[in-house]
Symmetry: C4
Subunit: 204 residues, 4 copies
């Protein structure tokens, strides 16, 4: 490969990453879109204050999803930093991941709306299961990128590749465990998500 086409391919990778960034960015902002109070006849200062306080499940779901998508964005970025050029397989896996990310508002709304209802367990299983899918898509993307050494940047070493693979596997396993826990105790599952974030952030 000559240098000029190498630069061309790197440009392509940057372009795909920019597009992906855009989707992460819009998905995370759209999470807020349906959060609102409905006007009812004769609402007073007290009744609005109470109505606002009663919005906490929706707001909690918003906060959880915002953090999840932000962490996914950071993960996506640190994965793409390791990629030099892309092929069709990488493109498709990335497309699958983006398709899932763009739909995060759906499980988020479901979680928020059913948090205090009799359908709470199903809502949490659906939500945590959705992030198992996202982990799988990440794992697939990394599989697509890491099986061909020529797709990765030159500076990367074999141990670094292995460490990243381990990391992606760990994410998948953690999310799967959280989903399984949700079948028994939804609140424990949500608490475990929280613990996992602390871990990711501490690992940085």
């Amino acid at each position: 490969m000559n240098t000029s086409s190498g630069i061309q391919q790197q440009k392509e990778t940057i372009r795909i990453e920019t597009f992906s960034d855009g989707i992460f960015c819009i998905a995370v902002t759209l999470l807020s879109i349906e959060i609102g109070i409905e006007v009812e006849e004769g609402m007073t200062n007290e009744s609005l204050a109470i109505a606002l306080l009663h919005k906490w499940p929706i707001l909690l779901a918003y906060v959880i999803s915002f953090i999840n998508v932000l962490l996914a964005w950071i993960g996506h970025h640190s994965l793409f930093k390791k990629i030099n050029t892309t092929n069709s397989f990488v493109m498709i896996s990335n497309g699958v991941l983006l398709m899932l990310v763009a739909l995060v508002p759906f499980p988020t709304k479901t979680l928020g709306l059913f948090l205090l209802t009799g359908a709470f367990k199903t809502a949490v299983i659906f939500y945590t299961g959705y992030f198992v899918l996202i982990s799988l898509a990440f794992r697939l993307l990394w599989f697509a990128a890491s099986t061909k050494r020529s797709l990765l940047v030159q500076e990367i070493t074999e141990p670094e590749i292995k460490a990243f693979t381990k990391n992606e596997n760990l994410g998948l396993i953690c999310n799967s465990i959280i989903m399984i826990v949700a079948f028994f105790s939804p609140w424990t599952a949500l608490a475990l998500s929280f613990v996992m974030w602390i871990y990711w952030i501490a690992m940085g």
Copy 2:
């Protein structure tokens, strides 16, 4: 043309492409916006699970449109890689294409909502017909760009131009056939879309 104004014009082309990318990116993310479950009185874990499963037509429409817009984005990009400078005609054709892309959520919703109703055939004809329009806009854009050799990048060869023209024609013909098939058998039409994607991806 001197070099400085050449660079200026290339910058303009990049700017138009960035704007177009933004529209593709937002259109694809907005597809998800209305997907959600409504809360009803006394919903249980079972009834929510069933309600979620019953969302499959909407989710199928989402997946189909996501893939279609992503492929259109890739197609748009590979077309713009061949363009060096733009004129009014290219700008207008590109505007028409973007106008159609930004409205993809409309046929998508129609497809998803009416997939299991007595209006299924009309929904599929509308959906597939919409992508015939998008193919036409692509064809128009390429016509606008390729009729003036000075608009294209210098490196491109005559056979490459012809190959791309053939490619755009093929896309238009395929989409037209799919729409015609939809009049007789909507499911066959959707299946053919699927086959066409495999082909596009394999061609890469």
Copy 3:
């Protein structure tokens, strides 16, 4: 001014333009967001086809606004190409313009929803009046930029400045005339918009 701070200021201008581009891009894509068919009991292929055809006023409003925002984007860009550095006044005028652009979906929906009702005239006056406001914001922005020669790029000549001023004035006058016409004949006003576009594009 030394070169380094000059480059710094140019970077700022680019940043503001990128932000503005983003708002144009999102505003134009959001126009489509509420366009959709509602599911009713027992809809057939025929009734859906009729329902789709009955959407033409909304689609017409969509097309008109898409073109208007796209032309505004082109106008915004050709204005910013003349600006080298910005001050508070330019920032504020630009903010006012963006505030109006981001709200274009509101008059668009109003136009589309009331096109076939007894409130048609008010809808068209509101819509065309809204674009008078946008013209005014453009005029203000250009006033803010052109009164201080040091804000403009060095290459620009006095006749070019005057020509652009004339152009902005012309836009304001045309839009005002269209709004006045709307009081007497709404359809004539919409037709005049169309003529004006042809003119802008031909002038390009």
Copy 4:
């Protein structure tokens, strides 16, 4: 630190800023999304005109929030101009700030919908309180960045750091005062916001 990794880290900072810009841009454009008139039977030109005029509280809330988010964007930018590299703490604080910015449409809608109801005071307290939270997030972000001198750009002087800290504190204090005033007189609180903007803009 060698130069190459320094450039790498600067790139990271630019990337985070671009992502943040995207969220500001989308949040500000989404403010307009639910503004619209509902069609009712037998609406006339007069009744539509009256309905449009009655939208002023929503439009006022829109204008206030648009200005607030735009000023926050400018503030965010002038803060990031002082940052050279980021660490986890800066990333998290920035994430908290973005989470709040993306949710601005919620207090905005609340303000607009309840401006003329008996729940006006609660709506204004909620709105102004929300911007106290945003000021706190800004303060936290600046705390995260300014406690480690190595995170800031080299050119910045100690007095400049102190001046910026004072500025951030001032913003927090002003917003807190406005919120406290809202408990006694909501309209005075909104008027004070207006005075504060003039001040920020004049300080530029």
